[in-house]
């Protein structure tokens, strides 16, 4: 209950902070602009709408994760609001976890709204019989990605400045998406050292391409529930580790 109120407060603050409303409007505009694309066959039209729509959801979800994530705790320290919370019967780790959950709720509500709008456009405007299972799977995996990216942003923000944290988080996101390609190319490399390096990096960092099923919507493919379960654990493991590391840093920190 106490923790939930911190989480809900995080959500309330970011909703009333008009930035998010702007983000949402912008994304809606992007989706709608695809509808202005003229003279395409239904198949092409659908494909472009799905690409742009899911791309926008992914982009804005990740942007929210990074930019809200890096400020989540930093802002509370900066504004000294953390003083009045941590001096109440709240443990520091409870504070971090509640803030994290609040952030996830915020992102979820925003992207879910975008997602519903996309579905409505696909079904009623383009008259595409949306493959529900595949679409929801793709959306769910995106949420897992936001969960990891939020955790990484919080992690960096516990020991570096917001700008550095943003830079680190975005780099992390890029590498996360390049990992599978890197691994693929390193297999063809002659150098054993390079192979080892890429392999180590691959197993250290999360492979975010594992969470990308966007094309399945277009090709009407679904994946096995086993895969969904497996990547859920994969994403959860990274998030938990990152939040745990954030807590370790945060527990010892002087608020000044």
């Amino acid at each position: 209950m106490r923790l939930l109120s911190i989480a809900l407060n995080t959500f309330k603050e970011s909703i009333r902070n008009k930035i998010l409303i702007g983000v949402l409007l912008f994304s809606v505009l992007i989706i709608i602009s695809t509808m202005a694309l003229v003279q395409l066959t239904i198949g092409q039209w659908m494909k472009i709408t799905v690409d742009i729509g899911m791309g926008a959801i992914s982009l804005f979800g990740n942007l929210m994760a990074v930019f809200l994530g890096i400020n989540l705790v930093a802002k509370e320290i900066d504004r000294k609001t953390v003083y009045t919370i941590v001096s109440k019967p709240i443990k520091r780790y409870e504070f971090i976890i509640s803030k994290y959950i609040g952030l996830l709720i915020t992102i979820f509500i925003n992207v879910a709204l975008m997602f519903v709008i996309l579905l409505i456009i696909l079904k009623y405007y383009i008259s595409y019989e949306v493959p529900y299972i595949g679409t929801i799977q793709a959306f769910y995996l995106l949420l897992l990605e936001f969960m990891i990216i939020s955790a990484i942003a919080i992690f960096f923000s516990t020991f570096s400045t917001p700008i550095m944290s943003a830079a680190f988080s975005i780099t992390f996101w890029f590498i996360g998406h390049l990992l599978s390609d890197l691994k693929f190319w390193s297999m063809k490399s002659e150098s054993e050292g390079f192979k080892l390096l890429i392999n180590t990096v691959y197993y250290l960092l999360p492979d975010l391409e594992l969470l990308n099923l966007k094309s399945n919507i277009v090709y009407q493919i679904t994946v096995d529930m086993k895969y969904i379960l497996w990547v859920s654990c994969y994403a959860l493991m990274y998030s938990v580790l990152l939040i745990a590391a954030s807590i370790v840093v945060f527990e010892k920190r002087d608020f000044k």
Binding site: M1, R2, S5, I6, N9, K12, E13, R16, N17, R79, K80, T81, Y83, T84, I85, V86, S87, K88, P89, I90, K91, K252, D254, F255, K256
Partner: protein, 306 residues
Amino acid sequence: MDNILEIRGLSKTFRAGFWLRKVRALRDVSLTVRENEIYGFLGPNGAGKTTTIKTILGLIFPDSGKITIMGKDYRDISTRRYIGYAPEQPYFYEYLTAYEFMKFYGSLFSIPSSELKRRIPMLLDMVGLGGKESLQLRKFSKGMLQRIGLAQALINDPKFLILDEPMSGLDPIGRREIRDLILALKKSGKTVFFSTHILSDVEMICDKVAIIIEGEIRKEASLSELLSIDYNEVEVVFKGGNKSIKDDLKKIGLLMKDIDDTCYMLVSKSDISKTVDVIRLGGGDILSIIPKRRTLEDIFIKEINC
């Protein structure tokens, strides 16, 4: 359990700047706050008041020292249930209304919302923010923020209040209201520890005072003790008498004022009888003899200078 707060040998060093130069913010600070006291924590800017308070609340970690709150180690989170804390220059969640803000803090103590419904308007009234329930905090003035900071500290009906400069940013009437509020809190059985650099605040309401300068406690005593110790001079006021007594008196002490027929003298304690004799022999009429107490300002200035 009559000691609410005990601090023993608290030291804290900050590392600041690019070279991480050491700044000794607290040196071997010890103090004791007893139950139902109003305790003034007095010191100039940068003396270490905020640092001490933040350490008590577990916001920063000391290098060494022991802090006990109501008989328990300060890190024991269960003690926080009985503490109310208002930080200096508070910034709060700007987008919350006064009511939501108070409700948020109430929920951190798991206070049921039916109870909050009763308590929040009462507290807002108490700090002079009645009727501002639905105003967002970003529309609050500095003084109003200070007040809601105080209201927030009272949400859990704490036994022990720790207030960091509760009167800063308030107008004279506001200062007075907060002073009255602190006195009312004492009356209802609470203990109040507050920091300030304004002497009159302390002089008017405190039972006990500690003076901290450059991270060191220079003095800790009850206010009456502090103000009455080593007073050496008395003021003697008299009327009438012949011409020659004034010349005689000038040899004993300092003749300060001579208005109409009334004279004011300042003499040291040991010369009281002598002075009285001179005046009475000279036909004068003694109106009053008042011990000349030091003000807190004298003590404060003396401590800063040494």
